[in-house]
């Protein structure tokens, strides 16, 4: 089945899942894939109107389907096609197939899909089914001097999948989706060897059949691939237990124009000079195609429990997270959302079935705001996810809540926590809704030392508000953040930022300028260029500043050795 049959061609996720306004004018999430599916969200419309000054009467719609005539014609050398046919690897020059693989999910890419056309897209899509197929394709590419852009889940948010406009050679989109088997599972060593094209949720589903999991859950795990995680240095929500991709990976096999790179053994650690895995992880498709990955697996957790804590303000919340990190007792996931995001989450609360729950809500609200003296416009919420065996989870839970109490935190129930995590999966759908009503938005992230978290959050949000004002955005933007990961030495901070662009002639340009300013602000505040989204082409301009001239030179020299003819010419990173 072709991907575009179940996935949107011009937006995020599944075709059947989206936010709509029903006949009563109430917001509703369609489809049955998510817990929120089919539910009415009574307060959401009001929140949108209040937050963005958007009105449901002002609508802008995407074109309904791709106009094939707009698509640039493929440039494909007949000799190559002959050679390709000889390998029996399936391929396509169909316009829809090619356009689908010409982009990731940056705002400007989606905007182009809705209203314009890319200047350069892949000329041909190939579907290797195994490591050997990939070897053949790379060999052909070297022989015919083609450009290969590996394509995994297509969820990039760094312009990494965009084809360089000036690329004159045939661009081959190497879609890894057919390399999706688990090759073997080693229960003694708790490892599994998996083909790199496998999609996150399939991997977890298949492993769970054997009673295992990887525990790697980036927000995009429904659509992103193992190979993509490796190529971008991905991070998962539950990294506190399972680790980030660099902690999970035991062995990588990658096909490069220079040949195949791999190690001689599958060991937990080795001292053989700089780890060559670290050239591969984060290489963003500039060196070759990751074909097979041996990854750590864990037995499925016996017990999972959500939780949440309300703090009187963001400062106290951050202090609590810092303390949790210091005591190294962070649950599988711990996140702290600021007040704006808390209210946002609140607006996405579905209509409650019984009067009783509603009554309970009211009671809780009363308790928190009146009895405890929390200001609903200042308080913030931490969401928690515990995993493990039941007893330990309960013990762990108590430890964390005890710490929270010291920082003025107040346990706010499982429900709030669970909704918080659910939101991360549906929030990507919200952008498509916003786009229909002149609201554009995006998320971006960074990592930062603990002592600068508060300053960075405040300054970046303020900077966004200011830049919007300066750039003529008429309604105050929605600018919010959450601390999504805790480490010993710092945290990962995630920002959402959206605004109503009515009255602005070139919203994408304005948006990009503001995002750029926000990134400058992050860097000035001692934050990193990226925690897990990667650099792609979107953030290349700051690479030198980030890793110094010499550092950049080191990476370049690897690229020059591995791929002297720039076969992997997506122009990311360097």
């Amino acid at each position: 089945m072709r991907r575009q049959e179940i996935l949107k061609w011009n937006g995020w996720g599944y075709n059947d899942s989206k936010f709509i306004f029903n006949k009563k004018g109430q917001a509703e999430f369609t489809g049955k894939r998510y817990r929120l599916g089919g539910m009415v969200l009574p307060t959401f419309k009001e929140w949108i109107e209040k937050t963005f000054g958007a009105s449901l009467e002002h609508k802008t719609t995407s074109r309904a389907s791709l106009n094939v005539n707009d698509v640039p014609p493929p440039i494909v050398n007949e000799e190559f096609l002959q050679d390709l046919r000889a390998t029996k690897i399936s391929y396509s020059q169909d316009a829809e197939d090619r356009v689908f693989r010409a982009h990731g999910h940056c705002l400007h890419e989606i905007f182009v899909l809705r209203e314009g056309m890319f200047k350069r897209i892949p000329d041909i899509v190939v579907w290797p089914v195994s490591h050997e197929d990939v070897v053949k394709i790379v060999e052909l590419a070297c022989k015919h001097n083609l450009c290969i852009i590996p394509f995994g889940g297509g969820t990039s948010v760094s312009s990494a999948l965009e084809c360089p406009e000036e690329e004159k050679r045939t661009i081959v989109s190497l879609d890894t989706s057919q390399m999706n088997r688990i090759l073997w599972i080693d229960e003694k060593n708790l490892t599994a060897c998996v083909e790199a094209g496998i999609i996150g949720q399939d991997l977890e589903k298949q492993l769970s059949e054997s009673g295992f999991c990887t525990g790697h859950e980036p927000d995009s795990m429904e659509f992103s691939s193992l190979g993509g995680w490796v190529a971008t240095r991905a991070s998962g929500m539950k990294k506190n237990i399972y680790g980030n991709i660099e902690d999970l990976v035991i062995h990588i096999k990658m096909v490069t124009p220079r040949g195949i790179v791999e190690k001689n053994c599958q060991v937990p650690r080795m001292s053989t000079g700089p780890d060559i895995h670290h050239f591969i992880m984060g290489s963003e498709g500039t060196l070759g195609v990751v074909t097979e990955v041996t990854i750590k697996i864990r037995p499925l957790p016996e017990y999972q429990k959500y939780g949440s804590v309300v703090f009187p303000n963001f400062e106290r919340g951050v202090a609590c997270l810092r303390e949790v990190a210091k005591q190294r007792c962070a649950p599988a996931s711990i996140r702290l959302v600021d007040n704006a995001q808390f209210q946002f989450g609140h607006a996405l609360k579905p209509q409650v079935a019984s009067i009783f729950t509603s009554f309970l809500d009211g009671l809780k609200k009363f308790y928190i705001t009146k009895f405890k003296g929390f200001d609903p416009n200042i308080l913030c919420v931490a969401t928690l996810l515990f995993e493990g065996d039941r007893e330990k989870v309960l013990q762990h839970e108590k430890q964390v809540y005890d710490i929270a109490t010291k920082f003025g935190g107040l346990a706010a129930g499982e429900d709030n926590g669970q909704r918080g995590y659910m939101l991360t999966f549906v929030i990507a759908y919200l952008r498509d809704l916003g786009l229909d009503y002149y609201v554009i938005g995006e998320s971006f992230e960074t990592s930062v030392p603990w002592d600068r978290v508060l300053d960075l959050c405040r300054n970046v949000k303020e900077r966004i508000v200011r830049e919007c004002k300066e750039k003529g955005v008429q309604f105050a933007p929605f600018s919010t953040c959450r601390v999504t990961q805790t480490y010993d030495a710092g945290a990962c901070v995630y920002f959402y930022f959206a605004f109503n662009y009515r009255g602005i002639s070139d919203p994408i340009h304005v948006y990009e300028e503001i995002e750029r300013a926000a990134r400058e602000e992050i860097l000035a505040n001692g934050g990193s260029l990226s925690h897990h989204h990667g650099v792609g082409k979107l953030r290349k301009r700051w690479m030198k500043e980030s890793i110094s001239d010499v550092g950049l030179g080191m990476l370049r020299s690897v690229k020059e050795y591995v791929d002297p003819n720039n076969i992997f010419g997506n122009k990311n990173l360097l």
């Binding site: 300053d455 405040r458 900077r463 860097l523 001692g526």
Partner: protein
């Protein structure tokens, strides 16, 4: 009163109505008439009035912080184009008198009013003592305490104790009660002292918004102790958060008052604490804590101390870099810097300052001193103008300028020496803020009067002074100066009221304005010089207020005079030289010499004083007045610096300290003044002396070495001589006159040699005092003597030409013969005697051509003015300057005195 008629080419006749002996004719009444151009000039006082330029909008020059530091090619077209963009016309706010209401309503009620100031949005309110403990417990201070404990092997507790003491000495303890006490007493005092206290209300409104948005730093100019009292008073009046003020520790020496100030929000800093790490850490953290919390606006003086000269002092960077650090480290989103210009019509401490500059030590701050100062309460100090400038966002200033990497790689609580980038930025911001202060300093009419008066000592005709003041007003406005001409007062009233407010400096005597140096006539020479210096320094305090507005065009004007050629590059190089020399004297934004030059040229072009082409700059005919005035304005500095340099080149031992230097150079200048070899009283100012020394240090002509107690200086003689040479070259190059001021000579009176027996018999007694014999530098005299040889050569050529003379030219031949004996003669006097010698046969008047005196009597020849005078006055260029063959003056034969009184 004087009529002149022109009797044809080459000869002009002047008639005095009534017989007026020359002795009674005031120079300014003597008008020369040029036939060619029909221009009127005052030959003696030589102030040519120019019509005041009417400027509708006050334009100001905003110096760009991000100004290019690269010298681009000097091209006039791109210069004016880019400058025009920068010289954006800016409307300044209106003023409001806050004392007016105080005079109408109860001070007590005002002091007890409900005071609920707006505060910073992120403020978490806390008591002064809480701040101290936050500071003490801060990582920053604790880190330094631990470090010191380790290094000195002492227990941290002891050092912590020390830190607590420092904090107690330093910290303010603002109390509303004390604030109200001040509100009450200051109302009384201010009403007594000042006529009006004018504030731009829009500025206060902007400040109010700024205070809510981001931490605010108030940067007022510093001319008087009144500054900070007034500013707090103002903020109280407008219901704004009262500032905490960095005050010198000397105030603590004052009993009660020190404590009172502390309770009104002052915190105290030692004058120097560079070496004391604990003090530095505690102080910096104290200031930063208040800033970060948005506790209160922080106020300090960029100039570091009160300017004794009313000229903005070069900025100090220490406190500024402290208040900027929270932004650099992104502990705050932004910080507002608010330049505030406080201008006094009359400065409370004016005479104290003058004494201080002359080396009579300033009395230490003491309460009894303050009580004595009550005497001044009976005096009138005019109007104060407070202009609260646009708050400047530090973030905007830093945008694109600062690489923050160094702050990202070190924990923020560690003390860190700022990088060069940062230091340069801090310095740029400091200068920018001072330039903004200068831009909004209000100039009173008296400032203009003082500037004119100082160029016309010892006495100046009152009417002329008014005329000239009005002219200067126009020029000042063209240059962007901010003049408040009270209620559109007519010029005469404005000048008169200025004179009456400053009667201690100048007064009107018989239609002339003279400096008020009473008692100068009697007393020893030294005392005379001192008294004169005192009043000149006081007067220059007011002129000084113009200098930073005028400095760029004026240095161009000076450079034009220094440079022999009109080539732009050469003028620019002289300009650069002057700018470097005066870098501590006036406020220049660092590193943008070319831009300053362009601005100077632009302003001069704007007032038609110069014309600039691609390669050349030259003064226009009209503009020479402006050019001369401008260079004369800065002449005291040129001369003063030369004297100081000369002292250093001749009189100094190998190494010296500042304590030796100041009295040394003072004595040196004093002696020269006593001898009369210089008139540059301003060189006695210790301010000028220090600035000159600092400039030399910067130029590398003096080496500054840090010693155990203070600094020691040693002179690089070669470098000093080089600088002196440039100056002296200037002097040669300068025309001894400009069309503005004629050069001065001594007139020698001698009877004509007996070879011509039939000639005049001059009675010397008649001439005594007839001519205002003026001194001039001996040097000029010498050059005059040498120049006679070249004159003689001219004579020979003339002789050769004479061979072709016709009969009619015989008269000319006679003329020549008569003057050969004394070729330099300028006046021939022979009342009722032989009559004039004519230069040409044409237009010799007959008796009937000479009108009778008003009394009816005949007019007889008294004296004639020879054309040689033109040569001496350097107005002998053909076709361009005034010209005459001879001027003949006939006076009443009866010697009547009919018109005498009117003439005076």
């Amino acid at each position: 009163m004087v009529r002149s008629s022109i009797s044809g080419s080459g000869t002009a006749l002047l008639y005095f109505p009534g017989a007026v002996p020359l002795s009674q004719v005031h120079p300014s009444a003597l008008l020369l008439c040029s036939e060619d151009r029909g221009e009127l000039r005052h030959p003696r006082s030589a102030l040519q009035p120019c019509k005041p330029r009417t400027t509708t909008a006050v334009t100001t020059y905003r110096s760009e912080l991000s100004g290019s530091r690269v010298l681009s090619c000097i091209s006039s077209k791109c210069v004016s184009a880019s400058l025009q963009k920068e010289l954006t016309s800016k409307k300044r706010d209106e003023f409001e008198d806050i004392l007016e209401e105080r005079r109408l309503s109860s001070d007590l009620r005002y002091a007890m009013k409900c005071y609920t100031p707006v505060i910073y949005k992120g403020l978490s309110p806390c008591k002064p003592n809480a701040i101290k403990s936050v500071v003490l417990q801060s990582e920053q201070v604790q880190y330094v305490i631990k470090q010191l404990a380790k290094e000195m092997g002492e227990s941290p507790d002891i050092i912590q104790e020390e830190a607590t003491e420092i904090l107690d000495e330093m910290g303010h303890s603002m109390q509303l009660g004390t604030v109200r006490f001040f509100a009450f007493t200051l109302s009384k005092i201010f009403k007594q002292l000042f006529q009006r206290v004018c504030v731009n209300e829009e500025g206060m409104q902007r400040l109010q918004r700024a205070i809510q948005e981001h931490p605010v730093v108030l940067l007022p100019s510093h001319r008087s102790y009144v500054d900070f009292l007034m500013l707090s008073y103002l903020l109280y009046t407008y219901d704004l958060a009262l500032p905490v003020i960095a005050a010198g520790i000397d105030f603590l020496g004052m009993k009660i008052v020190g404590e009172l100030l502390r309770r009104a929000g002052a915190f105290f800093m030692r004058r120097s604490f560079g070496g004391n790490r604990l003090y530095w850490a505690v102080f910096a953290e104290y200031v930063k804590t208040m800033l970060r919390n948005g506790y209160a606006p922080i106020e300090f003086f960029l100039e570091g101390t009160r300017s004794r000269t009313a000229k903005t002092l070069t900025p100090k960077f220490g406190l500024l870099s402290i208040v900027m650090e929270p932004f650099f480290k992104r502990e705050v989103f932004d910080t507002y810097l608010v330049p505030i210009s406080i201008s006094y019509e009359r400065i409370l401490e004016e005479s104290l300052y003058a004494y201080e500059l002359l080396g009579v030590p300033k009395p230490k701050e003491s309460t009894s001193g303050l009580l004595k100062a009550r005497r001044i309460l009976s005096d009138n100090f005019g109007t104060i103008h407070i202009y609260v400038g646009q708050p400047v966002s530090l973030r905007t200033l830093a945008s694109g300028r600062i690489n923050l990497c160094p702050y990202n790689l070190v924990p923020r609580h560690l003390p860190q020496k700022p990088t060069e980038d940062i230091q340069e930025f801090v310095s740029d911001v400091a200068y920018k803020m001072e330039l903004l202060q200068i831009e909004n300093m209000v100039l009173s009419p008296w400032v203009l009067v003082a500037a004119v008066l100082l160029q016309n000592l010892p006495a100046m005709d009152f009417e002329l002074l008014i005329e000239k003041t009005v002219w200067l007003k126009g020029l000042t406005q063209t240059f962007g100066g901010f003049i408040e001409w009270p209620d559109n007062l007519c010029a005469k009233k404005a000048v008169t009221s200025g004179l009456s407010l400053h009667s201690n400096i100048a007064r009107l005597v018989d239609g002339h304005v003279v400096l008020n140096d009473k008692g100068v006539e009697d007393g020893a020479v030294g005392e005379i010089v001192f008294k004169r210096a005192l009043v000149i320094l006081m007067c220059s305090t007011y002129r000084n207020q113009l200098l930073n507005v005028f400095v760029r065009p004026s240095l161009v004007a000076l450079a034009l005079q220094m440079t022999r050629s009109f080539r732009k590059e050469e003028v620019y190089s002289s300009f650069s030289f002057l700018r470097d020399i005066f870098s501590d004297e006036f406020i220049f934004f660092p590193g943008i010499s070319l831009k300053d030059f362009e601005e100077g040229c632009f302003l001069l072009t704007k007032c038609d004083a110069i014309q600039a082409t691609q390669q050349e700059i030259y003064p226009t005919d009209k503009g020479s007045v402006v050019v001369s005035f401008l260079s004369a304005m800065f002449r005291p500095f040129v001369e003063g610096y030369q004297l100081i340099f000369r002292y250093l080149s001749k009189e100094t031992k190998e190494a010296f300290t500042e304590k030796q230097f100041i009295p040394g150079v003072r004595n040196f200048v004093f002696q020269l003044l006593e001898k009369g070899t210089t008139q540059c009283y301003e060189a006695l100012s210790s301010d000028m002396q220090k600035n000159a020394l600092a400039a030399l240090v910067q130029l590398g002509a003096v080496k500054k070495k840090k010693m155990a107690n203070g600094f020691s200086y040693s002179v690089n003689q070669e470098a000093i001589h080089k600088i002196l040479d440039v100056f002296e070259a200037t002097e040669d190059a300068e025309p001894d006159h400009n069309e503005f001021l004629f050069p001065e000579y001594e007139i020698l009176i001698e009877p004509e040699e007996p070879e011509f027996p039939a000639d005049s018999t001059v009675d010397p007694d008649d001439e005594k005092g007839a001519v205002d014999a003026s001194k001039k530098l001996e040097k000029q005299e010498e050059s005059r003597v040498t120049s006679t040889t070249s004159d003689a050569l001219d004579e020979e050529t003339l002789e050769a030409m004479a061979k072709h003379e016709t009969k009619e030219d015989k008269i000319f031949q006679t003329f020549k013969d008569r003057i050969t004996v004394e070729p330099e003669q300028i006046i021939r006097y022979c009342r009722g005697g032989e009559g004039p010698i004519w230069v040409s046969g044409e237009n010799i008047p007959e008796e009937k051509d000479i009108p009778n005196c008003l009394c009816g009597a005949k007019r007889v020849f008294e004296f004639q003015i020879m054309p040689q005078l033109l040569n001496h006055l350097k107005v002998d260029s053909l076709e361009e300057s005034i010209d005459w063959g001879t001027l003949v003056v006939y006076t009443c034969a009866e010697n009547c005195s009919a018109e005498n009184k009117k003439l005076n």
